[in-house]
């Protein structure tokens, strides 16, 4: 249904006594449902209702549902594509399926209608076979119509199609979204904030700017769920969800203290409510309890956000053979040019290409005419590991090849990677005994744990301990062969 962005309890208040739950299906195999329960808002994880999303209602009785006011609009016609289309029947009266959709002929335009029974958790079907699971559209129910051909149908009662928004990620980065098959691409600033949203042709459809602590400078930002530093803003509370804590951009403060403790050598950390050490332009805090540098670029360099576009004639297209874009994402093309004053060069960290793939172009060799240079961050010889992992030769080889601790595995993925932040042992037998390993390790991998956003585990005191775990990818700083 088409509703204005609003609190879920407000939108469904007129029919609150008729429903027991409101559900939103997010997809995936792990906890794919969010839900809201009237009267138990504090236990609900569905907070707001957004335009174009699908919502499922558990009805207390087969009563009709009517949402009054300007909360929703009804199109006069529905465009169905071939295959399965979703439709919500919100007319307060039931109607036989064969009579409900003028302009569509059963057996010619469509041949089946399905619905998901939230009580029995099973799919039910209508095929006009005489032994169908149901034969009419019921109020408040979501149906799926299987179209044999794409067709536009005129609707005589308030029943209308819905849209679905799907977000596309790569390496934990949100690259794009898909609404009813239309793709939009996210371009972020150096903090990861949604700065520009572009359509498939590269045309800008939204530009968003923020004050330093995250308050919006531009209007129309309610269209996007993910805003400042890429976090989700809860419209009902006005707070950003930073996982460990909630953040109030109007105050520039977290609403609860940092549980990770303070660093007495850094006075900015003494206020445990402060956001990013009071330096929100330089730091980000993905987990809500560990500020980190937003970029590894040298002084004077910024991140250039570009739309996906075809360069004008005479300019080069910067492409890499190494990266296969996820479905719906394009190749980033940049012109060969010297940036104007105050703009930066597009920079990337070093990485090791996958087998069979080449290296990114660097200033160390001559490029063919028309090709651009992608600057990369040089290897920091001064980098010191902040954690260690004692491994066998195969894992050491894998880490050397990819530059990361492998947390995608031969049997399935992903799993938790264990490491130790404090102990440093040079002898293989020492390591085996210290961590009760099943066999003698051959190498010690030094890790950069400053980039980890999720840390949890036992024996942890002030974020130091013997073993801690994370599901993030961990960059490798060095690999040392242990002495026997």
């Amino acid at each position: 249904m088409h509703v204005a962005d609003n609190k879920v309890e407000t939108v469904f208040a007129p029919i609150q006594d008729k429903i027991s739950n409101v559900w939103e299906y997010l997809g995936g195999t792990t906890d794919p449902w969010k839900h809201f329960r009237p009267g138990l808002e504090q236990y609900s994880d569905l907070k707001t209702v957004s335009a174009g999303h699908v919502y499922y209602l558990d009805l207390k009785s087969p009563a009709g549902l009517v949402l009054e006011g300007a909360a929703y609009t009804t199109p006069a016609s529905l465009d169905f594509s071939a295959g399965w289309n979703s439709l919500v029947w919100t007319y307060p009266a039931a109607k036989p399926i064969l009579d409900a959709l003028p302009g569509l002929t059963f057996g010619v335009d469509y041949d089946a209608v399905a619905r998901f029974n939230n009580q029995t958790k099973q799919w039910e079907y209508f095929r006009d076979s005489g032994s169908d699971d149901f034969s009419q559209f019921e109020p408040g129910q979501v149906y799926f119509i299987h179209m044999l051909i794409p067709k536009t149908a005129t609707v005589s009662a308030p029943a209308y199609s819905v849209t679905r928004t799907k977000y596309i990620y790569h390496n934990n980065q949100r690259l794009a979204k898909q609404e009813n098959g239309v793709k939009y691409f996210y371009l972020s600033d150096h903090l990861g904030s949604t700065a520009v949203v572009a359509d498939g042709s590269g045309a800008e459809v939204g530009r968003y700017e923020y004050q330093p602590y995250g308050l919006p400078l531009t209007s129309g930002m309610s269209r996007e769920r993910y805003k400042f530093t890429g976090k989700e803003l809860d419209d009902s509370t006005g707070l950003y969800d930073y996982s460990a804590r909630q953040y109030d951009s109007s105050l520039g403060r977290f609403i609860s203290p940092d549980t990770a403790g303070v660093d007495h050598a850094d006075p900015q950390s003494l206020n445990r409510y402060s956001y990013c050490l009071n330096n929100p332009l330089r730091y980000v805090d993905p987990s809500g309890n560990a500020p980190m540098s937003a970029t590894q670029l040298p002084l004077g360099y910024g991140i250039l956000g570009t739309p996906i576009y075809t360069p004008p004639a005479g300019l080069g297209q910067l492409t890499t053979p190494i990266w296969t874009p996820p479905d719906g994402a394009g190749i980033l093309a940049t012109p060969i040019y010297a940036p104007p004053d105050n703009q930066g060069i597009l920079a990337t960290p070093d990485y090791t290409p996958a087998d069979g793939a080449g290296n990114l172009a660097t200033p160390d060799f001559q490029l063919p005419a028309g090709y651009g240079v992608l600057m990369s961050k040089g290897q920091d010889d001064e980098a010191q590991p902040t954690g260690y992992r004692y491994v066998g030769s195969e894992e050491a080889a894998e880490a050397a090849k990819t530059g990361y601790v492998p947390n995608a595995y031969g049997n399935r993925a992903p799993k938790t990677v264990f490491y130790t932040p404090d102990e440093e042992l040079d002898f293989a037998s020492q390591a085996q005994n210290a961590y009760n390993l099943p066999k003698t390790p051959t190498h010690r991998i030094g890790l950069d744990t400053t980039k980890i956003t999720n840390i949890y585990g036992g024996n942890v005191v002030g974020r130091k301990g013997i073993e801690m775990t994370t599901k993030d990818r961990i960059p490798v700083v060095n690999i040392k062969k242990l002495e026997e």
Binding site: D111, A114, L148, G392, E398, Y409, N411, K415, V417, F418
Partner: protein, 164 residues
Amino acid sequence: MNFPDKVTFRVIDRKTKKPIRNIALLLILYAHRKNNYSIEAKISNENGEVTFTKNDCLEDIENSRNFYLMDYASTLEECLPHISLEVLSRETIDFVLKIRKERKNTYQNYWDCSDKFLHSLGKADNADYLSKLYDFSESDLWRNEILEVFVEKTPEAKEVGDKS
């Protein structure tokens, strides 16, 4: 947990009550400490059946512990007294296929990276079924009977005229 010498599961379509072949299933052992174990996926046969043996578990546990020294700690006996059987999602299957093809040299001494196994895994019909975990207690495994798992198709999997 006390795992029997072997345990057989039969995959059945919830709607038609018929056994389903060519479905990839994963056995999950819940470790007392650190990561759980995922025993190598098996494909259901003509009768919808897959069999996991105690040796399968012991071998996979040893491979996991020997490859990732710091990430696994429990023996089979130390695992909790219940298991899960997972109908793998198509996304997980594609991920495993990708990793084993790209990293064959790394993993081939520990997990099956043969063309035959990867081909059969790639041909599995898991995309037609909802990915889900089915839980069994240790006592279930010792009932000396084939344990039934009822799976359901996704709506996209239904074909015109399919009465199942």
